[in-house]
């Protein structure tokens, strides 16, 4: 099913799949993004800052909510745990104190899952927040690495590569210090492999941040 996927040339690194990002495809949300990483596609809508339910109101910062909708069926425990991870990542970078007693909602709809879904969701979320113009202390991006049986690192794996890999690692990396915001491991790996993957992810993150910048520039530049 998966098409022969063109990959981003990122120098000496194993390459990322091709990224396509459309900003503002939806009219109702304050920010929306359609993010494609290879064949994986996620649609993000961001609402906020808007009114908040009194029960969820926080007196000194904005209430953040992340909803992850799977391609088919209702969200389950798996989606809930992913939602929580994305939410906590956003909380670390959004300057919530600037919007006390208000709510920020991120809705993510999975359109196609062809591998590296969590990192695609993270990227879509970040671009969505940028598109909504919410103040943030830094940007973040998600990078997935798969370790194959020989211990080689594969960036941005496809679904098949993920299934065959003994370990799949996902990181969220911030744009200022390139530190780790989120880490998730599926499978088992050694310490050295973890450190290697972090280093690879940090370098791949630069490519993604450059893409963010280019995408934002294209949107706001006028002829």
């Amino acid at each position: 099913m998966e098409s022969a996927q063109r990959r981003f040339d990122s120098g000496d690194l194993p390459a990322l799949r091709r990224i396509v990002c459309e900003q503002g495809p939806l009219s109702r949300p304050d920010g929306s993004v359609s993010w494609m990483q290879g064949d994986t596609s996620v649609l993000a809508g961001v609402y906020g800052p808007t009114e908040v339910k009194v029960s969820k109101e926080i007196y000194d910062k904005a209430t953040l909510e992340v909803l992850l909708r799977p391609k088919v069926g209702l969200p389950g425990v798996y989606e809930k745990s992913r939602e929580q991870m994305i939410k906590k990542t956003c909380e670390a970078v959004i300057l919530g104190n600037l919007h006390p007693r208000s709510s920020i909602t991120v809705v993510l709809q999975v359109i196609t899952d062809a591998g590296s879904l969590l990192s695609s969701c993270l990227n879509a979320t970040c671009m969505g927040l940028v598109d909504a113009g919410l103040p943030m202390s830094s940007l973040f991006c998600g990078v997935t690495c798969a370790l194959d049986a020989d211990g080689n690192i594969l960036l941005d794996p496809t679904m098949k590569q993920e299934k065959d890999a003994p370990a799949v690692l996902t990181f969220a990396i911030d744009s200022i210090e390139k530190k780790i915001l989120l880490s998730n491991l599926k499978g088992a790996c050694s310490e050295e492999q973890l450190q290697q993957c972090i280093a690879t992810a940090q370098r791949a993150a630069e490519t993604i941040f450059r893409f963010y910048r280019d995408a934002a520039c294209r949107k706001y530049s006028k002829w």
């Binding site: 809930k80 909380e91 915001l181 989120l182 880490s183 499978g187 088992a188 450190q195």
Partner: protein, 276 residues
Amino acid sequence: MTATVAAAFRTVEPLEYYRRFLKENCRPDGRDLGEFRTTTINIGSITTADGSALVKLGNTTVICGIKAEFAAPTVDSSNKGYIIPNVDLPPLCSSRFRPGPPGEEAQAASQFIADVIENSQVVMKEDLCIIDGKIVWVLYCDIICLDYDGNLLDACMCAFLAALKNVLLPVVTINAETGLAEVNLKEKNPLTIKKQPVATSFVLFDTLVVVDPTAEEEDLASGTLTIVTDEEDKLCSVHKPGGSTVTEAKLQDCISRAKTRHKEVKKLMDKIIKSV
């Protein structure tokens, strides 16, 4: 007099209160930053379950009961059984939980345990097969928190592993005439535990990492990090669900701490199992 002033300071400026302690490399409860609370494990606490354990980590109390039942396997993996973990956070354990369907934290904890089972291959799913394509064992692992004082994941993992070691499955034979399964309750075998995953949780305060947080520390901290290692020092989970950033060097320190914790827990568990 000073005690009341300190108590007032703690109420009004909890974060500042903690920072004063952290600056001196200690915590209000007297532990240093890398020290765990006293861990106690009790195995076989529930006689009606097929395996059970009660774990206390300071005040945090978690009980795990494992019930084995028959089930039909799925078509694509006909020789594999199931392990279904479920973490319950009843209103009994803390005022922060309301009655009703499981909340976000309980769901995230259940998913975490399920991920660790999958990642570490603690029990080979094939070992749970009774007859290929017909019947397999399903292990329902109910983990209930009785007292919530932080570091839920470590306590849950510990209780789960201890309960799993306590499981005795009866021998099942198939009656050739009737074709029905017959359970021989007199003859029971323990499970083969392939790996022993042990979790170690940290919280991040500014640039410091603090091990085994209490509920109060979890609330004040800016992020959490849980590392699961097995006896071969392989990482089975590096779970950092957002929160403030951490450097590679800090992560390395945490992994080293997790390894020593693994040895401590393993020693304790071996001692308890021998004594039973």
